[in-house]
Amino acid sequence: MTTLLQGLGSHRLARWLIGLLALAVMLGGSLPQRPRLSPDDLSAWQTEWGQGAALLEGLQLSHIFGAWWFDALCLLLMLNLLLGTLTCLRRRLAELPDYTRPLPQVLALWGSPLAHLGMLIMLGGAYLSALGGFGAHLELSEGELFSGEAQKLHVDRGHYRAGQFTAALRLDRVGIALHEGGLLQELQLELTSQENGVSPQRTTLETNAPFSLGGYSFFPNNRFGYSALCERHLVGGERRLLLVNFAVPRSEWGRPWSVENRRNLTAERGPTYYRLKLHGPETPLLELAVSRGPRALFSGRLKPGQSAEIDGETLTFIGIRPWAGLYMAADPGQPWVFAGLLLMLSGFTLHLAHRPQPARHSHDIRQGAPGDA
């Protein structure tokens, strides 16, 4: 058992694990990775690589950072770090009563085990993030409210249950300024929020200044555009607002633009395919082509206030509004990762700042050094 524990905490195993992890991370940073590809990019990659893509999928090389063998390497490294650090700490503690060293050298000797302990805490925090972290993109138009509706979120990682977010957030104004050529100069989102029945608060959200609400943090994700705001008057008399977001290229922001979008909507009589083209910003115009299967239901242009009859339903184009993207995140592992990082860097700095000298044990001092009278 002792031999096994020594082996699991050994330098030799550490070298193997670090080397293999380095190779895996290099592959992950070079090969196409499924979670990072959009559906179109994924399809293009599979077509282009053909058998190669299938082989990579089979070997789990297209999702390295979620592969079972990557997890196994990381967990084994954590075990190696734990056992190695405990052995080193035990040795340091055992030496403590028995020698006299100047304080800087004591610090130098403790630097390395502290650095490794920091790495262990970092890895633990990273696992907490992987298991419990959450991130989702959200697009809100000016005046639109978000109260935790799951259908408004495009989940990036983790899981979300409807009702998990118990506060309310409304985007009041989108403030965008661009440099010539389309580089973003300023992005400010004016928000109103309410939590736990407290009176509404107004906030301005900017990059590098996140906003916390309902246990989540919100960040601007630098995506913005214009929404076409429409009202659907359904067959049964029900009225529903329809917001269709269009991404306007930055190079065209502030100038006349036209952008396309396609949407499938569920109607009383079956799924309906909408092809939309929005023109703006000064004189908004919505070009609409609607079909169900091979049957064309409508094709035409709508100005604000105009309506279209689509198979018993009425669609009224109201106008356009700016929209902005936010990223909603929560991560229980993050504080541990940064605490571990700080400990690791501090331990290393201690180790480097002082050079350990050979120990003089206290019994040598009592008896006198060799050569003394």
Binding site: L23, G28, Q33, N208, N222, L345
Partner: protein
């Protein structure tokens, strides 16, 4: 900015002249004096650029390479007092600094207005740790190549500092990403390769074995050089092959 051309040429050629003198092994004092003058020219160039653009010159590829070269020369000057082996052993590093200073001229020297994401104190920490790590790694590689395995203890110290600085660079980048984007790590290609580089340095530092009189073993020597090659590829080569969030800033 045409007025940057002459001081940049002088700085690049100056570093190479210093490297030549150090490799020759004579006129060492003259070489160090020339190095000080070249450094002042280089610093003056960057200070002037910062004053002209009203922002720190640490974002575009031109600025990035120029600052990296400056850090190599600056660290060489500071460390060669404490590590005499570095006086001649760091000559290759100065040669690289000279080549880098001249190579930076191949990139656009136009200043790029900073987007909101760049307006963070973390940018300064992240960029400077990156430059210092590259400088330290270059000095370690130069010492290893020019002195063989004779200066094992000095090389190991430099490798440890490279590991620490590169780790600090990754950590400050992660802190910045968590503040700007809501996620400290996203397995972006440049993040992955930066981590691989850190692991490679860690692997090299865990190698043991050597000769009875303390010279490092072959594995340790080549491991350190391999980690440095990864560092160079991550910083200068990767963005030619893979898209990353860094691409939008460094190829302006």
């Amino acid at each position: 900015m045409p007025s940057e051309l002459l001081p940049q040429l002088l700085a690049g050629l100056g570093y190479q002249a210093v490297a030549g003198l150090l490799l020759w092994g004579r006129l060492t004092r003259a070489a160090l004096t020339l190095l000080c003058l070249t450094l002042l020219t280089h610093l003056g160039l960057l200070t002037w650029r910062a004053w002209q653009t009203q922002q720190l010159p640490i974002v575009t590829r031109y600025e990035d390479i120029t600052v990296d070269a400056l850090c190599i020369a600056l660290l060489y000057l500071l460390l060669q007092w404490r590590l005499p082996a570095l006086r001649r052993g760091g000559a290759l590093a100065l040669l690289l600094a000279g080549i880098g200073t001249l190579a930076a001229l191949a990139y656009s020297r136009e200043a790029v207005p900073w987007s909101p994401a760049l307006r963070s104190p973390w940018l300064l920490f992240h960029a400077q740790f990156n430059s210092l790590a590259i400088a330290m790694g270059t000095l370690a590689a130069s010492l290893a190549l020019l002195t063989g395995r004779r200066e094992g203890a000095a090389i190991r110290q430099l490798l440890l500092w490279s590991f620490l600085l590169w780790g600090a660079m990754i950590g400050s980048g992660a802190a910045w990403a968590s503040e700007a984007w809501g996620r400290y790590w996203a397995w972006d290609p440049i993040e992955s390769w930066a981590l691989a580089t850190l692991l490679a340095y860690g692997w090299a530092l865990h190698l043991r074995g050597g000769t009875a009189d303390g010279h490092p073993g072959r594995g340790w020597y080549w491991g350190g050089l391999g980690a440095y090659a990864l560092m160079l590829f991550t910083t200068y080569g990767l963005l030619f092959l893979r898209y990353s969030l860094h691409s939008q800033y460094l190829f302006q």
